[in-house]
Amino acid sequence: MVEAVKDKWLGAAYSFIVVLVFWGLVSWWLDIPIIPSPAAVFQNILDIYTSKMQAHVAASLLRILAGIIIAILAGVPLGFLMGYFERVDKILSPLVYFTYPVPKLALLPIVMLLFGLGETSKLIMIILIIVFQIIITSRDAVKSIPAETYHSLQSLGASRRQMFTEIIVPASLPEVLTATRLALGTAVSILFFTETFGTEYGMGYFIMDAWMRVNYLEMYSGIVVLSFMGFVIFTLIDLSESRLCSWR
């Protein structure tokens, strides 16, 4: 367990160094303003973070966290119901499977027409991307619980609520967290995309704005900070997974 955590951190540190070295080499080799050196970018982040970037980071973080939380709150119960009650599954599964392969980004115009350019459509887009994966994963997690697991509780006369709290929730938690973690990558891309219009806050806006102003140093700073943000959330979910699911 401790070894695995150590390996993960070592892996992260190793990848970080490889990326930096590669980036540094390319920048040094080409020596053009559109690829500034890592050192210059990190210095720039330190210089402008509090004055210029913080508000954008906060706006993006808020959107993505709200998106994840709402997607979990909506998707997990739905998936559980589908996994546990055959009838609910029969009604909802075809709908989920039918809509799952639709590229959600293509729905952006519709969402914008219906909900405007503001926060609501950005949030809806993020939720749309994550929620299906969470629904399907929760459903499959519940379905994969062997019938014998319920037997002890059945013979004790456990109520339906107890079945959920004692078996279904803990048994499917690891899968749900993994699905969330995997969906996060797509969610950050969508976040970036939706922040390029209809707002003046968010890392997407910050990066595009720096690009338009031909301020490459700021543009790179924005990209690094956005990536770091994604990495931090990813790591947080990973940590809570190993903490909550240490029984595995």
Partner: protein
Amino acid sequence: MISVKELSVAYGENQQLTPALDKVTIEIDSGQIYTFIGPSGCGKSTFLYILAGILRDYQGIVTIDGKPVDPQKQRIGLILQNYGLLPWKNVYQNAILGAKIKDQPADEPYVRFIFQQLGIEDLLGRYPKELSGGQQQRVAIARAFILKPDLLLMDEPFSALDAITREEIQDLFLKIWKQHQVTTVFITHSVDEALYLGSKIVVFSPAPGKIIEVIDNPCFQLENLRARDEYYRMSKQLRKMLSEEWSKQ
């Protein structure tokens, strides 16, 4: 007392019903261990699941102390071959699960006493995956006794254990059982186990399961049983009977 009258169960869809139990009738006296022995697939586990309230689709009448089987009202302890522990709960949480579901605060001194008797008091913080089979089964036994059950149901609980661990746990089980004398239905396919643990031995036929005979076991609770002549004689007699009965079908 458990009373079973004309109990029949069939599996499958309407058109192709495979009978699992065929008009089983038996009265199980309180405070006894009944070992049920039968070949694989004879429906003895099905019988147990009906008593446990897990299987509800059957014909016939099954009552526990005059009332129909209802796990919400009766206290039924179930011990299964795969131990039935929840992997996300540690030993302590698994052991008090029964008491928790029944909405009763666990009787702490009694819980400690059971842990001690089963020798698992040092394992309380561990998860099932960190335990050996024998240890997991001890936890399952602890859970069943902590529940203070009216009825104890055991479905080949020791058959996945190695021979030495099995005999150890059989002795341990008997020791704790003697203090409580819970009515116990014990399913097994081992002649040795049926003789060693059962005050009565119920012989099942091959599928569809019928009761062939209920035998009073003279060997039950004799000191140093496995070394005795009675045990050897009884074992031989039982084996002979089983091979005759089971080959008839």
